[in-house]
């Protein structure tokens, strides 16, 4: 059985850079002057899509990226295009915060519109840490899902995909046919850096621009209400000890050992 070519969709999110420690200002995350980047797990998803094309000649017809977020999210789409993604869509949601359920519903429409048969995205975004979108999208599409992928391999004339995924205490192996949603874990690959030359070339690649109002059949009202956000209380100053005997005594005093 031969398979139609891959039309890969890679959803990406713009998040506060992973090296920056977010601070709370006036009951909101202070995001005025800090650096934003592509969500690291989504970066791994982009890299994997590009590698699938590099490794399997003629298998991939199109790699399309989509980002749902503020206008500035087009910066992360430019990075995707510079890394080898062909085309992209920005769904400009302005200042509105979207929950994963709404994001998954929008992505479902993008999947249908683009006739995608493989979606690869990060296992979670490092801002809200929800770890929801991939599984939700798979559910809404009635597609199988392979989350936390550590290895992806095409089998049997590319009609099947073998996925090794991270689970508590080890890993498990799945084999799926397409269409399929895959979410990426850290070990899958190490994303490439973008050369200035490719960044310049990417400026010529297309970004389709849509607005939330283009999806007015989808109710994006928030289901969860954030009552407060705060930084965790700092740990009280610890003590330094000078010998193992002192260490053992301190452990006993702290009731950490008998």
């Amino acid at each position: 059985m031969s398979m139609s070519k891959l039309r890969i969709l890679v959803p990406v999110k713009r998040v506060i850079d992973y090296q920056i420690r977010p601070r709370v200002l006036n009951n909101a995350i202070d995001s005025k002057t800090i650096k934003f980047s592509i969500n690291p797990f989504d970066d791994i998803a982009v890299e994997e899509a590009v590698r699938i094309r590099e490794k399997n000649k003629d298998l991939v017809e199109l790699i399309h990226s989509v980002s749902i977020g503020p206008t500035k999210a087009q910066d992360v789409l430019r990075t995707c295009l510079a890394k080898g993604v062909d085309t992209s869509t920005l769904v400009d949601s302005g200042e509105q915060q979207l929950e994963p359920l709404s994001v998954a519903k929008i992505l479902k429409e993008i999947v249908m519109k683009n006739n995608s048969n493989l979606v690869i995205l990060g296992k979670q975004a490092i801002d809200d840490d929800s770890n929801n979108t991939g599984q939700m999208l798979a559910g809404l599409l009635s597609w199988p899902q392979a989350t936390n992928a550590a290895k992806i391999e095409f089998l049997e004339d590319n009609t099947k995909v073998k996925i090794v995924r991270e689970i508590d205490g080890g890993e498990e192996t799945l084999i799926s046919s397409l269409p399929l949603v895959i979410t990426t874990d850290l070990r899958l690959n190490t994303p490439r850096y973008v050369s200035l030359q490719n960044m310049m070339k990417a400026k010529k690649k297309p970004i389709e621009k849509l607005k939330l109002s283009d999806f007015n059949n989808i109710d994006t009202t928030q289901r969860l209400k954030t009552i407060s956000i705060e930084e965790p209380k700092p740990r009280e100053n610890g003590i330094m000890v000078n010998s193992v005997d002192e260490l053992v005594t301190s452990l006993k005093n702290a009731k950490a050992i008998e």
Partner: protein, 319 residues
Amino acid sequence: ASTLAFIETTKEGTVSPSSLSALSAAEKLGQPVTALLLGNEAKKAVDYLKSNLKCSNLEKIILSSDESFDNYLPEIVSPTVVDLLKNDKFSHFVISSSSVGKNVLPRISALLDYQPICDITEIKDPNTFVRPIYAGNIISTIECTQDKKLISVRASAFDKIPQGTTENVEVEEITTNASELKPQIEWVSANIVKSDRPDLGTASRVIAGGRALKDKETFENLLNPLASKLNAAIGATRAAVDTGFCDNSLQVGQTGKVVAPELYIAVGVSGAIQHLAGMKNSKVIVAINNDPDAPIFKASDIGIVGDLYEIIPELTEKL
């Protein structure tokens, strides 16, 4: 109002450690609890639950022994849970945020058109929950305005359900369509790292090693005896995992396991922000490092500067 609690079984027919915490979170909601157990080991695990655990609010157990549920493929588990949750009597669904919970809960929620509340660390009241965001650098308090609350709980943040017995609980065996579902995805095999040590995610003591341990042999020779002495799980930093000192499943941090044991001993760990995110809620943190300027000391309760090769064997002996 009542709670449906999804309970994972082990291959030995007991209740998985993270589900022991999910059960106590379900009890905390203060409503009658129905436990759901699926798969070949379900019956054995129900017996285990009744004769080993004290679940004060448990009024009913629903089980299916259909082995199609083994390995908890979300494509097979979700339809059954969705069917049960359509019953108006359930106002809450609770599952552990284990790799199974993380995999199935969002799918179930989307199929029912609910936004779940994932990886909670505290229940304020039946509608209000605390969950860390930004890798634990920010703590958010969330109110859920949906009529059903679908929750996954971080096992390390909740006590395990106490030991004891649970009697006079109704047990219902259900038939499902699980064996007729033929998902386009197939479970092939699992490779679980064998260990006699406690599970890292729920252990009450953790010994973690960092890059300063030089190589795999040193990592094992120094940490194994200490971990055995304390009956502790072994963990590692991302740097230690990447250098090949130990298996990836032992990684503690933003991209690995988040743990909160009674005692966390960091050996040769520098204290990168990504690692701290995975362990800073531990009760007592001990740092052992030869670099007095290592940031880990700022995050610890007890610190000692010195040669790891002398301190660790001496500590192992004196405990």
